[in-house]
């Protein structure tokens, strides 16, 4: 029975491992080297320039604009998504009040859950095209058309640099909420019903019940959600590329790092510089993930 173990292991691991090393690991490692060269593609052979690209990054206004947008995204997007998703998950699972000593969701909660989750299966690029029509700056846009009925002037949702980023955040939230409703619902249904019953018996109201019981017992799930949304906040490529005016505009008001990486690499052929941005993005993502896990660590509540 023993013989043939190693040929089997090698046979099973070889193909996935080779594929993974060639297309994933080697590009990641090369990226760190390319980031320290002035590589511009086919013609010039790359010169090693050390940290020059990173020094240039620090003086690049577009880079800082993108970083600022990631900070806004990082705060606003998870906060809005989690708040809305928690609210709906609470309504769908426990908001129907308690009948016969049991907490129930509101009527029709199955229907809402199906509808809310739906945007999650749509491709971000397709959502982007969809919202172009919705955000159109004149009265032919869906939102502005509705506003016009109430006599409100059309708003340049994507053309006004002050609100363009928020319009894009709104689309991200629109797409993400359903996923977290389902995620939090799973977490809530794992909380034993008698905890709520006991609290109801002790006279806890709805708000008390939510903040003192549901929220603390859901902490682990919330933490996972926060990390996921935070990592998503460092992306935003497809949506910004498809939806925003001039790909990241107006006037870089909505640009994000992934978009700048793509632009520098494939429009300007600044491969070294684009890779330096990639390295910067990598360290930001890692820092965020580690910090979040550290800061939000709490004693796990057993039940």
């Amino acid at each position: 029975m023993r013989h043939g173990k190693y040929p089997f292991i090698i046979g099973f691991l070889a193909a996935p491992l080779i594929l993974y090393v060639v297309f994933v690991i080697s590009p990641y490692l090369q990226a760190f080297y390319i980031a320290m060269t002035d590589w511009r593609g086919i013609t010039a052979s790359p010169n090693f320039t050390g940290l020059d690209n990173f020094a240039r990054l620090l003086e690049d206004e577009v880079f800082w604009a993108a970083v600022r947008h990631h900070i806004v995204l990082l705060v606003a997007m998870p906060l809005l998504t989690i708040a809305i998703a928690l609210f709906f998950a609470y309504l769908l699972n426990l908001g129907g009040g308690s009948r016969g000593g049991r907490m129930n969701g509101v009527a029709g909660s199955g229907f809402y859950r199906v509808v809310f989750f739906f945007p999650q299966v749509l491709a971000v690029a397709i959502v982007g095209v969809l919202f172009q029509a919705i955000y159109r700056p004149d009265e032919s846009g869906v939102i502005n058309g509705v506003l016009a009925r109430f006599g409100i002037e059309p708003v340049g949702w994507l053309t006004n640099p002050d609100i363009a980023l928020w319009s894009i955040i709104a689309v991200m939230v629109w797409q993400a909420v359903g996923f977290y409703v389902v995620l939090f619902s799973a977490g809530m249904s794992a909380i034993p019903k008698d905890v709520f019953e006991a609290a109801a018996l002790d006279g806890a109201g709805r708000f008390r019940m939510f903040f003192s019981i549901t929220l603390p017992l859901l902490w682990d799930t919330l933490q996972v959600g926060w990390v996921y949304l935070g990592i998503a906040a460092f992306d935003g490529f497809a949506l910004v590329q498809v939806l925003s005016v001039d790909r990241g505009g107006p006037d870089n008001a909505t640009t994000v790092l992934p978009l700048e990486i793509w632009r520098n690499a494939f429009n300007f052929s600044k491969y070294g510089y684009a890779s330096a941005m990639g390295v910067a993005l990598f360290f930001m993502t890692i820092t965020f993930a580690v910090l979040t896990l550290r800061v939000t660590r709490r004693e796990r509540i057993e039940y």
């Binding site: 996935p16 009040g97 509101v106 809310f116 629109w174 018996l201 497809a238 793509w262 684009a274």
Partner: protein, 303 residues
């Protein structure tokens, strides 16, 4: 709860019923219940309306689309759908995407489950390192690898081919697939496989005929996860299938492109028809498989 005597404990259900009865009345059709339903209904409309509007816009004329957004089309003809399918090549892009995603998901599942099985069930030197190598892929943003990946694919001669996209999709789906399935294989009982081996079943046969069928629930979740993830990919297609191989494009880049072209050619109904052609099948598939899709996508977050 500090209920000292047994009589108090016995009385609990009755008290609870009485207490919740009072509360429950307010929760059902009361003010709170109405507000809850309004909030849920508003969000549901926010999701259904844009999708429905896109569908209706595909039957409108340009004039109707740029007119009042809240009117129905004057006639329901499928002209624009035919235009989008043939002239804008949506049919071609859909077919390309079906082929690519079918092959890459199949490849991901085969290679991913093989690697995961060996890593979960066999002890050998380097096991831990290879596992960590796969899982570390989860921590890196794909944008970091973008530039070197482009050149790796080009140097192999697979740039602008579906084979290149399929291999890259498989490679980038492996970290999560291996991570998830390794945990899953570890959770399965070992006795069945051991019995099979004692009966002279080879390692390979044990895997395909015993372990894979046992792992079916995990495989289904992660297959759905991969199909949706790969179907919705936008970044990798636009990098790996550049403009000179337009006939090989995938659906997301095709839609983004007709969105850009709709502005020049003024064929807005065509754009919305193209969107509808991609969204309607998603709606149908989602309604049929919504339970599996929800659990498949959220399974990643519930570690």
């Amino acid at each position: 709860m500090a209920t000292p005597s047994s009589t108090a404990t016995q009385a609990t259900p009755a008290v609870a019923a009485a207490a919740t009865d009072r509360r429950g009345r307010g929760g059902g059709p009361g003010v709170w219940g109405v507000l809850a339903h309004i909030a849920l209904a508003v969000w549901a409309i926010l999701i259904i309306f844009p999708v429905l509007w896109t569908f209706l816009a595909s039957f409108k004329t340009n004039a109707e689309i740029f007119g009042d957004p809240l009117t129905l089309p004057s006639s329901f003809a499928f002209d624009a759908w035919v235009r989008a399918w043939d002239k804008a090549h949506i049919g071609q892009y859909m077919w390309n995407t079906v082929v690519v995603v079918a092959l890459s998901t199949a490849g991901t599942m085969l290679l991913g489950s093989m690697a995961a099985y060996v890593l979960a069930r066999y002890e050998f030197p380097g096991n831990r390192i290879i596992y960590l190598l796969f899982v570390s892929g989860l921590a890196f943003p794909v944008f970091l690898a973008l530039v070197p990946l482009f050149f790796v694919v080009r140097n192999i001669g697979l740039l602008g081919t579906h084979a290149g996209v399929i291999l890259v999709y498989i490679a980038y789906s492996l970290p999560f697939t291996v991570f998830f399935l390794t945990a899953f294989f570890k959770s399965l009982p070992t006795s069945v496989a051991e019995a099979a081996m004692l009966d002279g079943c080879s390692h390979t046969r044990t895997f395909f005929q015993i372990m894979l069928p046992m792992a079916k629930p995990g495989l289904v979740s992660i297959t759905i996860f991969n199909i949706l993830g790969q179907w919705n990919q936008y970044l990798l297609p636009i990098v790996l299938l550049p403009g000179n191989v337009e006939d090989k494009w995938l659906i997301t880049q095709g839609i983004a492109n007709i969105s850009t072209n709709a502005g020049y050619e003024a064929d807005w109904p065509g754009l919305f028809a193209g969107l509808s052609i991609t969204v309607v099948p998603m709606v149908i598939v989602y309604i049929i498989f919504q339970r599996q899709i929800q659990s498949g996508l959220t399974s990643g977050a519930v570690k």
